[in-house]
């Protein structure tokens, strides 16, 4: 499970995310922008993002145990991974997604 290996098996399937937002709240807007930016940069060809506004569909958030906003769930590839926050700390996001991090810190 080292980085080189990960680089080797670059995802064949698409990266599927579900993003839970709270309307136009600033941190939600930032999370959305950050997630799209990361996707464009790392898997431009193969990503899908489903956006759910908890203000419009609160019961769904409840059913899916979403407590805080913004929350992004990586549904595919498995395993599922939950990331909370506005995704401003890119390093953390990449590590959580199992992607190689930038050489220059």
């Amino acid at each position: 499970m080292n980085d080189a290996n990960h680089e080797g098996d670059h995802p064949k399937g698409a990266y599927v995310f579900r993003l839970y937002l709270a309307g136009g709240a600033p941190n939600s807007v930032r999370a959305s922008a950050n997630l799209y930016a990361i996707c464009r940069k790392h898997f431009p060809e193969s990503h899908r993002i489903e956006v759910i506004d908890v203000l419009k569909d609160p019961m769904r958030a409840l059913a899916e145990a979403i407590l805080v906003t913004p929350t992004v769930v990586k549904l595919s590839p498995l395993p599922e991974q939950q990331i909370i926050g506005d995704l401003s700390e890119e390093e953390e996001v990449l590590r959580a997604l199992g992607l190689p991090q930038k050489e220059t810190a």
Partner: protein, 499 residues
Amino acid sequence: MNDKKHFIEKISSGIEGFDDITCGGLPLGRTTLLMGGPGSGKTVLVLHVLVSASTHHGTPGIFVAFEENARRVSANGEAFGWNMRELEKKQLFFIDARVRSDVVKSGGFDLTGLLSALEIKAGEMGAKLIVFDAIDVLLSLLGDPAAECRELYRIHEWLMLHDLTGVFTMKVEEGYPAIGQRYGFMPFMADCTVLLSERVADRVAVRAMRVLKYRGSAQMLNEVPFVIGPAGVEVGSSNGVHPEPQPFEEKISTGVERLDAMLCGGIYRGTNVLITGSSGGGKSTLAGAFIEAACRRNERALFISFDENSRDIVRDLATISIHLAPHLAGGLLRMEALRTEAASSEEHFMRIKRLLAEHKPRCVAIDPLSALARVGGGLAARAVAERLIYLCRNAGITVLFTSLTEGSDPHLETTTLHVSTISDSWIQISYALLNGERNRALSIIKSRGSQHSNQLRELIFSKSGITLADPYTAGGEVLMGTLRQEKENAWNIRKVDGQ
């Protein structure tokens, strides 16, 4: 805002003692904070409040579980005899708000998701009470004091906006000072703050709670003990306001005819009698006589013994013609054998209180009350003994309790519990060592509101029952045992001669 609201409206917690210390319960439409160490009983307390609010006051509620599995919290409720399954159909809703352990945090977030879901749910079921259990778990996820404060205020504002009553529980380590540092703002936000604690005294765990503050309301500042019993949380508030009971004029028998005579007709109903004496002195026997007399008057009676089996007591008393078995079988008498070491004095108190409520006796014997002093700390035991006495007095129950005297000083044991001062009558049994004999001697130290004999009398147990010998004195000493018999015989002979 509202001119009508000059005073704080309250919602009963459904727990008598808790309503006592908070002078009515939780502040309606405001925030209450319960703090306490791990395992201090926070979750059970809030669950109890939620269940009784929905059961007795028709107030639906929502339980947000940040730490424990919500299903398990609900299952715990079943263990206390609450019909959770039925309540969860309409009245109660549990939200499992545990954060997944593998969650990754990147940047700022807030609770909008949870609150918007809660808002819909609360509106849907008409919930008025919302519990946030283990809010500290959520706060630690935020990991930044400013964010913690901001999110708490968000919840607080949200509660106020929707006219909801909120209860937060929060884990604190090592008592109050520690919270001052980390969550110092928390008590300011809450209108009512209660601290739960648990400590170990004499190897027995003792739970206690204290209202730290209650904005705009009277409160009881003292720490009060509480237990988690089979029916949930029971709080032992000592100075709840009770009406002064009307004193009885009637006198009732102690079960020993000659002792009644010494007390000028017995003891007043609704008062209490303390019997002190060393081991084997006959305290339990007198307790048995008192209980049998009550049953003969067709009064319900309760015999509570510590560390002795009820069956043994019945058997032993039968040898001196005190027959409890028929009354036991007939349901008039209930006997309960408690184990001293098994629980704190507070738990014993709650147990006895339950027994009183269940059996509704007019006469009670507790043998020995001093057993309480052996566990859970002397001060606590003393308070318990006092409360027991007041509880009985308020209920008009006549109670006889015994206390063991160890060593030669008869005042020793009574000073550990300090019950002699609040006892109405005090009878002392001692051993008189005279002429190579050990004889039981009985004397009345005090009997309030009544004349009583000041004599020291020999106490005799025989197959035909309990009696007190006629007093014979010689050279200023009361004669007992063989010497008395000799004197008695001499008197009888003289009487015969005289005729």
